[in-house]
């Protein structure tokens, strides 16, 4: 009698174990390796479609609550998903930078700096920009250049540190820590859409000091798109909100990333 019960219990346990094991295996199968996750998230964040257009409004708020605004139209064209791409930025506000154009040819090859130009309309001057530090503020906001155009994945090592029902959390450690102001950062990535929803940057002492959150995600054409993101600098108390409107993908952006269009932008960049 006792034996029989034991057997039943054992059997039940074995069956449970079997199922449990199977369950674990099933979950494992759902989790791609970390490189696949970061590659996919990078494409979703910066390479949707072959090209794209958006109107961007930035509101920069300092600790004292004073605000400044930037408004620009951005055209993007990819040369390769996850690889080189071109950006054309046409400023509309504030009025002292109105009609200025910023052109970036982004290069992801190792050791290759981006090529950048700036057009100053009052002087009819096409300037080549020497800036190589991508951790510099973008147009005076709390976003840095790399937040806007994407950080090269090869610059960091990636580790999947957490998997929840809805998120992957990836820890990224720079290969050359002397070139950046952070010790590492984590990115929370939506499991379904691969949209990065939150990035947290830690300083050299391991203190969290900078947070970027996607506050609004919309499906535009078939692409999940962050339409509102906010960066908070916990050290300075400043924050910048970036809102994307008038977003379109695959509009057939031509070869406008050259001097001709710096001096006179294409119509689609001007309205």
């Amino acid at each position: 009698m006792l034996r029989k019960r034991s057997f039943v219990v054992l059997s039940a346990f074995a069956v449970f174990s079997l199922f449990a094991a199977a369950g674990v295996r099933a979950a494992d199968g759902d989790v791609p390796d970390v490189q696949t996750i970061v590659n996919k998230a990078n494409v979703v964040a910066y390479y949707q479609g072959d090209d794209g257009k958006a109107t961007v409004k930035m509101t920069i708020t300092n600790k004292a609550g004073q605000t400044r605004e930037r408004e620009f139209i951005i055209l993007r064209k990819d040369i390769a998903d996850g690889g080189d791409q071109n950006y054309f930025v046409y400023f509309q506000r504030p009025s002292d930078v109105r009609r200025m154009v910023y052109l970036v040819q982004k290069h992801t090859g190792e050791g290759k700096d981006d090529d950048r130009w700036l057009y100053l309309p009052a002087l009819d001057l096409v300037k080549r920009i020497a800036a190589s530090d991508k951790r510099t503020s973008f147009v005076g906001s709390d976003f840095v250049y790399e937040d806007v155009s994407g950080r090269n994945l090869d610059l960091d090592t990636h580790e999947l540190i957490e998997t929840t029902d809805t998120l992957f959390v990836v820890k990224n450690v720079p290969k050359k820590p002397e070139e950046v102001e952070f010790s590492h950062y984590t990115v929370a990535i939506d499991r379904k859409t691969y949209v990065p929803t939150k990035m947290e940057f830690y300083d050299k002492q391991g203190q969290l000091y900078r947070v970027i959150e996607s506050k609004d995600v919309k499906m535009i054409q078939e692409f999940p798109t962050v339409t509102k993101s906010v960066v908070k600098d916990l050290k300075t108390g400043g924050q910048t909100e970036m809102v994307f409107t008038d977003v379109h993908y695959n509009i057939g952006v031509g070869d406008v990333f050259e001097e001709r269009y710096l001096r006179r932008p294409p119509r689609e960049a001007m309205r």
Binding site: P94, D96, L123, A130, S132, R135, R260, R264, R271
Partner: protein, 436 residues
Amino acid sequence: MIVSARGSVTYVVTLLFLAAAMAPVGAAQDEEPKPDPVKEFFDKLDTEYHGFYEARAGYRLQNDRHEKDMSIMEARYQFDLFSMRDWGDVKIKGDVYGDGVEEKGVFDLREANLFMRPADSMDVKLGRQVLTWGTGDLIFINDLFPKDWQSFFIGRDTEYLKAPSDAVKVSFFMDWANLDVAYTPESDSDRFISGERLSYWNPALGDRAGEDNTLSVERRREFLEEDELALRLYRNIRNYELALYGYWGYWKSPGGFNDAMTAAVFPELYVYGASVRGAVGKGIGNAEIGYYDSVDDRSGDDFLINNSELRYLVGYTQEIGRDFTAGVQYYIEQILDYGDYEDNQPSGMPKRDEFRHLTTLRLTKLLMNQNLSLSLFTYYSPSDEDVYLRPIANYKASDHLTVEVGSNIFFGDEAHTFFGQFEDNTNAYLAVRYSF
């Protein structure tokens, strides 16, 4: 003198009040401006209306026996109208300002042009426009479009260094290269230093002079006869920007004197040149060369007319810290047929060196979320032994309001060298600008 200075100040203050009265009501609080009737009017015409109001005041930091103490004193309103039509774009930009130094009101039409893209491979811009090309930073070899050195030295915004041209610019875009053709039917000279606002070396007098002895000039005014043609052929090879240039026109600032030495003239000048710009190491490098063919004195023995010259430039710019950029340039002007120049120069007249060496250093640092810009541009000529410093601090107090302080500092060992002649014009200024 005091009365006249006071008169000017009153004049400018009055203009400022007028400007303030014209400014949108919301301006003072720097909030979202209330509906501006002028803007609304242009909105109805499908035309963008922007511009600024500005007050700018500056003084000489030493006595100048040829000029007023006041170096700049003006209230300025700039309007900028832009309209996109199906067939092209229209742009009109003009400045109205009260000039307290010269005690007059001025209207300066900066741009009035039509832009069209008549074919996929062609752009046309017709009318008054600002034109710029070449690779130098505040040094121009193949950019022979008019400059306003007077505005530059008295402390107006850098925008005013470029004077407009009345021209047509046609650009052709081809697979192998692009070509710009700029034709100016009536030669546009520089707004050169003539003594009105800045004391200068007057070679005819053999001394410094100023508003008491302004330079008389014989201008080139024959429409279609005394014209200018400028070409640029350019292409990018792996993001190295290569260009060839040609220019057929006149010395932009006086390049000689008439026979009686009673007036400065603009002798004929042809220029042929080339430039390259691209990434070098962590920064951007550039090199440019130009051959100045002084057509009226090809042999170099006419002491009244500039000799031909070769001009060379190399430059390099790099970010040297966060929001901190440094740029250096080395520039040489070489007088050709120098022996003939030397032999024919009248005794007692200061001779130019065969080689004029000029170095520049630009340092720019951005602070306070890039709202404060500190910049220093330095020209130093080891051969002329003169220096020109341009320190500028510019603070964007808000999206609309900018405050700027700056200085133009000249010194040199001799009274006749390029920057040394302006020594007594060393000045400092303050400006407040409201942009809308």
